[in-house]
Symmetry: C2
């Protein structure tokens, strides 16, 4: 006769092991490491909340300080590898296996640890995919999460950075796992209940607020005229003809330029209300002028952004907010919105090859994927039509029987032909492939596969890959917008001209855009200070973005 | 100067309009229609919780009884069109527009109302897609939901049928919407908090428990030997060679047969632990023998199933359960799990054409999609490898560069060549296409598109479409398993034999399966009573499944 409650009894024994450190659910910060040593078992799957922004930093430090004879062989399953401690646990022999989605600042060190064999990598995921596995084969036994405040019953208020917390807690607490939360304060009554207390086992009040990073703030003063040109091309050459109303933007300067051109260039083109109205997006400060100009109907957010809280509070018609007035973000649902309810995803990348595959991996850096593979993929399960989606589908497959024609998502790569340090964006072979070979990975870390990309935008023009009829046309469509990179110089000029005649390639002049018009006066805001002004003083940028 | 809180003020005025009917949040059942007339505004988007199982039936009746001069032009945005009242609101002139996902018992009447112009159809969605739009362009102004119990603060306990409630409430309440819950009882303290009370505005105690339908119960006594044969083929010809551990099953008898063959036939093949271990699935009673035999490691559920509550409670190592011991289901997360974390989806359909497109629409019936298009689609955003996924990818694209090779999801259609009333499953042209033309739909209601299908299983054998190299091969692979249907008889026998030599088509004998072995003695349970016995008396089937 089997036992059917091993995991539940395991949970109870963990709770008992931690109980002597707790008063009710509350544990003192100085006992954090002792709590983790008491509760975590060797080999556990642990989610140490590393979101895009919000970090359970006290718990990260506490885990990295654990005795590796007690806490060992952990399998870390978390979105972000962001803090040094997220990798210290591998160097310290506490954790050995890793499944994750995104690593910004740690991308170089994560590569070193992989090369050095300190990390056994499961996979680099897109967020929603990792969340999916929480319910199937990567369910955490312990979740270490962060919130703004807790009441005595453990009800949590996450504030605007709800992010991953609901999905992490749901997978853990309903499958016999233990949930430990760090909070900035303990209060009598939380402003709203983001996580019900019966899903939370221990609460630790931190001596300082959890770390949040302003990942989505792009200073308008750093936007170049080349980026403005690419933004004009995207608006006039893609947003307008397809009539894209529901969309997601990446976080680069090119898309920030688009946001800042909507109230100026977009207005002049008569596009207000016709494009860029409904968003799945973090609260980008550069979207403020478009919101204030009445372009934006709604924004659902993955997470929040530092400095945007008061502005969001004052715009409840636009943002999803709680009864307390602050943003309610939710990465799982916003990624779902990006996958199934948006008609366009546009973002930048570091490298694009001749098939249109793109990657942000370069030698020695494994940045991870974040949400791009999810939002930058054609959702084949989609069954609702929209004008842009049907038009893209028709371009991709004009000969199919109308009733059996599917739409296509618009997936746009935008950038300059040469990126940082003059490195060419277009390459014959992605660095990601060399990395996959070096590490013997089953899959190269491709951000977006070429067959999902619909358009590539550079300062040289737009390549519409939907209109390409074979691999050769596709290669030349890409070469045709690759400028003076080696890939661009490798073009057959006659072939490129033929593609241009068919509007597979469109130059600025083909769209009636004069590159000389692409200047910074076009931007609705030319500085962070301008953004503050647009917001009526509600936007409070972090210190490093203030130079006045 | 714009106002930025129109929606929030709208919410407050709605709450005020309903306040005179409420004591705290509580409204009497007799005042339900008056409450809806007070709170709902013409043109509102309304989600009337119609899940797969759980139904907000009191609120459905109350809405259908509303004065259509007051409550009118509603846009219904809900998963299921299940109760008669879900369509009465259209006949009564209360609602005019509809976006939905699934209609079982109402599929005939919904078609009539569409033909009659009483319904302006937005689209038929897959569940996750509709949820996605709740956060972008179909956010409800009013959600009418169902729960088991509420406390005085409006905290809700949904019991095992949590289903769609969290995602519906999140989209509504955080975007200035009004949430009205019907509950079976009001208690001092809910057994667990499924929905925090600050997201719930009004609570109505119903005079009878909400309606729940046993949609996922298949009586083993109705499983035929032909279905057993197809199940043997699937296990030995697909589950075994690919090593499928993470999966989802449809709800037909063929897949019920697979569930019942795991502890017998699967055991004999030595597959325990190697296949069918981790599931995204409703709690199918026919899975009980596999669970009791130690095949199953975990099951995450979309919703629950009538009669399974006590069994689930006693198996917390397998199911996701709450602190109260009952199942915690969640359709949004289980669909996400099905999309991104499962390697196989297998289900039945009503019609398959020569390209492998399938549909459950037949003349005069629009059943909707439910979850099949989502789980039966290749998730192109997926970035984690697994053995079955990589093997399927290699079969589909053997010539690609290894580092750029993607995996493929296994998407299997299983059924007999002739279905109900001897209607052929294989057809030259889907009825869905005729319907799309008749209603001038932008998209024909295709359940799963042929290019996503990897295998078709019938009693005649398995067609592996991944191995087909062109449309002609694909067509003959399909004809080759289409038996004595007109499509099957239209085969070129030499071509079919060539495909069989390449194992594109596999006959039972090619897999060492003797069709005469396919008999009901192979089933681990041959009746509902057997299932009860396997469960140790914990499974309590609904009366209509009890014949002893």
């Amino acid at each position: 006769m089997s036992n059917w409650d091993n995991a539940r009894r395991g949970r109870l024994s963990r709770l008992q092991a931690g109980a002597h450190l707790a008063e009710g659910k509350r544990v003192q910060a100085r006992d954090a490491t002792a709590l983790l040593e008491a509760v975590i078992r060797p080999g556990d799957r642990v989610c140490l909340e590393g979101d895009n922004q919000k970090q359970a930093d006290l718990l990260a430090v506490a885990l990295a300080a654990a005795d590796n004879r007690v806490v060992r062989d952990l399998h870390m399953v978390q979105s972000g590898i962001v803090l040094p401690e997220h990798l210290d646990v591998f160097e310290n022999g506490i954790a050995t296996r890793l499944d994750y989605a995104y690593s910004g600042p740690q991308s170089q060190r994560i590569a070193q640890l992989l090369f050095g064999g300190k990390i056994r990598l499961g996979a680099v995921h897109t967020y929603l995919e990792l969340f999916a596995r929480y319910f199937v084969d990567l369910t955490p036994q312990v979740a270490l999460i962060a919130a703004v405040s807790a009441d005595r019953d453990g009800n949590l208020y996450t504030g605007p950075n709800t992010e991953d917390t609901p999905v992490v807690v749901e997978a853990t607490s309903f499958k016999n796992g233990v949930v430990i939360a760090q909070v900035n304060e303990i209060v009598d009554r939380v402003p709203r209940v983001d996580i019900p207390g019966d899903r939370v086992d221990f609460v630790i009040q931190s001596d300082k607020p959890f770390f949040v990073e302003p990942l989505f703030t792009r200073d308008p003063s750093a936007i170049t005229e080349t980026q403005i040109l690419t933004a004009m091309l995207a608006i006039k050459g893609i947003y307008a003809p397809y009539g894209v109303r529901r969309l997601n933007h990446g976080i680069g300067f090119n898309t920030a330029a688009i946001e800042l051109l909507l109230p100026t260039y977009g207005e002049r083109l008569g596009l207000k209300g016709k494009v860029a109205a409904q968003w799945a997006l973090n609260p980008h400060p550069t979207l403020i002028p478009a919101i204030e100009s009445g372009w934006v109907e709604s924004v659902h957010c993955f997470g929040s952004e530092v400095g945007m809280d008061e502005y969001i509070r004052a715009r409840p018609d636009i943002f999803f907010t709680g009864p307390d007035g602050s943003l309610r973000s939710n990465r799982a649902f916003s990624q779902t919105a990006g996958l199934y309810a948006c008609d366009l995803f546009i973002g930048s990348t570091l490298q694009i090859d001749l098939q249109g595959h793109s990657s942000t991996v370069t030698a020695g850096r494994i940045a991870g994927f974040g949400g791009a593979p999810n939002m930058g993929s054609d959702a084949r399960g989609r069954r609702h039509p929209s004008a842009p989606w049907l038009q893209a589908g028709l371009e991709a497959d004009p000969d199919s029987m109308p009733a059996l024609r599917r739409g296509r998502k618009l997936i746009v790569q935008i950038g300059e032909t040469f990126g940082d340090k003059n490195a060419p964006t277009f390459v014959e072979r992605l660095d990601a492939i060399a990395l996959a070979e070096k590490l013997s990975l089953d899959l190269a870390p491709i951000m977006i596969y070429g067959d999902d990309v619909s358009h590539i935008v550079t300062e040289e023009g737009i390549a519409n890959l939907l209109l390409c009829r074979d691999a050769d046309e596709r290669e030349h469509a890409i070469r045709g917008v690759a400028g003076y990179t080696a890939v661009g110089r490798g073009r057959d000029p006659r072939m490129v001209e033929r593609l241009r005649e068919r509007r597979v390639i469109q130059r600025p002049e083909d769209l009636g855009i004069n590159p000389l018009d692409a200047n910074r006066n076009m931007l609705a805001a030319r500085s962070v200070k301008d953004l503050v002004r647009w917001s009526g003083g509600l936007y409070a940028p972090p210190a490093r973005f203030r130079n006045w």
